[in-house]
C-alpha cells in the first residue's frame, strides 16, 4: 500500500518511513508503554538474552545486546523502567534479519531493563537490572 503511494509519487520515500508510535514513546510508565504497543500481557521467557554490564560507569552510554531464540520472533521492544519515558526502542525483524540488536542507551538511574519479544502473535518478556554509578574525573 505504502509502496504503491511512493511509486505513485503521493508520498516522498522519507514519509513512508515515518511510522513512529508516539503514544508508546510518550508513555510515562512501562505498563502504559507496553499497552500502547499491544503487549499488555507477557509471558517470561528464557529465550530472550539480555547481555549488558551489571554496573555501568556512566548512565549516558549503557551498552545492551539483545537476542531472542524464540522461534519466529518478529519484534523486540526495549523498556528502561525508571527512565522518564521508559520505551527506548523497538525493532521489527522481517524475513532476512535475525532477532538481534546491540545499542547504547541512556539511563537516568539504576533500573530494570525489560525486553519484550513478539513471536507468533504472543509476547514474551525478560528483565535485567543495570546499576548506574558515578565515575571519577579521568579516563
Amino acid at each position: 500500500m505504502l509502496a504503491a503511494l511512493v511509486v505513485g509519487g503521493l508520498l516522498k520515500p522519507v514519509m513512508a518511513l515515518a511510522a513512529w508510535n508516539k503514544e508508546a514513546f510518550a508513555a510515562k510508565s512501562p505498563g502504559d508503554a507496553l499497552n500502547s504497543l499491544g503487549a499488555s500481557s507477557t509471558e517470561p521467557s528464557k529465550g530472550i538474552v539480555i547481555d549488558a554490564p551489571q554496573i555501568a560507569e556512566n548512565g549516558a552510554v549503557v551498552p545492551i545486546e539483545i537476542s531472542s531464540s524464540i522461534p519466529n520472533t518478529t519484534a523486540i521492544a526495549v523498556v528502561i523502567e525508571k527512565n522518564p519515558f521508559p520505551l527506548a526502542a523497538r525493532f521489527d525483524f522481517k524475513d532476512g534479519a535475525l532477532p538481534f540488536v546491540k545499542l547504547n542507551a541512556k539511563m537516568g538511574e539504576t533500573s530494570d531493563v525489560r525486553v519484550v519479544a513478539t513471536a507468533g502473535g504472543k509476547h514474551y518478556v525478560a528483565t535485567r537490572e543495570i546499576k548506574v554509578t558515578i565515575g571519577g574525573c579521568g579516563g
Binding site: 547481555d51 549488558a52 554490564p53 551489571q54 554496573i55 555501568a56 560507569e57 556512566n58 548512565g59 549516558a60 552510554v61 551498552p63 545486546e65 546491540k102 545499542l103 547504547n104 539511563m107 537516568g108 538511574e109 539504576t110 546499576k131 548506574v132 554509578t133 558515578i134 565515575g135 571519577g136 574525573c137 579521568g138 579516563g139
Partner: protein, 262 residues
C-alpha cells in the same frame, strides 16, 4: 568530575569490589565495541587531505617524523625531537607547527579552537584520531636519544611529582598509589610501566561520558584544571614533557587506539 556527578546517578551498589571491577571491564569492552571512534578517523582523513591556509596545501606535506606525508607508525614514535623547530613535539604540537609553516596559517587562526565539544569536534581532534589510528599495531617508541628528548623526559617526570596550586596537588596525588579510586573510577599509577602502558596505548580517545573525542593535550589540560592550577599553554614544553614522560614510561606497548573511555 563535576560532569560525571551531574550526569551520573545513584546507586544501590551492594556488589563486592571484585565483581564491580569485572563489571566495569565488561562495560569498557562493550562500550568500546559500540564506539563511534571510526567516524572521527574518517573526518580526520578528509581534513588531512584538504588543502587549507594561504598556501592552499594539505597536511600531506607535513613531516610527522617519518618524512612528509608518512603516517604509518608516526604517532607511535612521538613525542620526538624535530630539527626544523629545534624542540621536542608531540602529535598536536607538530600538527600545529605544520598548519603554520606548511599551510601558512596564522598561529591565532590555527589555535582558535583546539578543543571541540560534543556538537562540534575540533580539527585537531579529528586529525589526532586519524593520524593515531595509522600507528595501530606499532610499538610505542618515543624519541630517547637527542639531549632535548632526555631533557623533556626529565622535566615531565619532575612535573609529575611537583606539588602546587590551590589544593597542593601533583599528578601523583591521584596517580601515585596502587589500588586507589576517585569515586568508582580506578586510578592508574602512571609512573609505573604496568599502568602507563594500557593508558598510553589507547589515547587519544572517545569519551562516552560526554560523547567527545579527546586528545592527549586535552587530557593533560583537564587534569591541571582539576588540580586547581592555571591553564597549561597548548603545545608548550611542559605539556609535551608530560606526554614524553608518560609515553616513555609506556614504551614498548603496542598501540591500539584511538581508544574508547568511560
Amino acid at each position: 568530575m563535576m560532569r560525571a556527578i551531574t550526569c551520573g546517578a545513584v546507586l544501590a551498589l551492594a556488589a563486592a569490589p571484585a565483581l564491580a571491577q569485572s563489571q566495569f571491564e565488561k562495560y569498557q569492552r562493550m562500550t568500546a565495541e559500540g564506539s563511534p571512534v571510526e567516524l572521527f578517523e574518517l573526518v580526520g582523513e578528509d581534513l588531512w587531505k584538504k588543502p587549507q591556509g594561504p598556501n592552499n596545501v594539505s597536511l600531506e606535506k607535513c613531516d610527522l617524523g617519518k618524512g612528509p606525508g608518512v603516517l604509518r607508525g608516526a604517532y607511535a614514535a612521538l613525542p620526538r625531537y624535530f630539527k626544523d623547530a629545534d624542540r621536542v613535539m608531540d602529535l598536536e604540537t607538530r600538527l600545529l607547527h605544520c598548519m603554520t609553516t606548511v599551510q601558512g596559517r596564522s598561529p591565532e587562526e590555527a589555535t582558535k579552537r583546539l578543543f571541540g565539544n560534543a556538537d562540534k569536534p575540533s580539527e585537531m581532534e579529528y586529525l589526532s584520531a586519524y593520524v593515531a589510528a595509522q600507528s595501530q599495531g606499532m610499538k610505542l617508541a618515543p624519541g630517547s636519544t637527542h639531549p632535548k628528548e632526555k631533557e623533556s623526559y626529565e622535566l615531565g617526570k619532575a612535573l609529575f611529582f611537583h606539588r602546587a596550586g590551590a589544593w597542593d596537588f601533583s599528578c601523583a596525588s591521584c596517580h601515585g598509589e596502587e589500588d586507589k579510586r576517585i569515586r568508582m573510577s580506578e586510578l592508574p599509577v602512571l609512573s609505573t610501566p604496568k599502568a602507563a602502558r594500557p593508558v598510553m596505548a589507547t589515547w587519544p580517545a572517545y569519551r562516552v561520558s560526554n560523547s567527545q573525542f579527546k586528545t592527549m593535550q586535552w587530557r593533560i589540560n583537564d587534569c591541571y584544571r582539576q588540580m586547581r592550577m592555571p591553564e597549561p599553554v597548548f603545545g608548550s614544553e611542559a605539556t609535551v614533557a608530560m606526554n614524553m614522560y608518560l609515553t616513555t614510561t609506556a614504551k614498548g606497548e603496542t598501540y591500539r587506539g584511538p581508544g574508547t573511555k568511560r
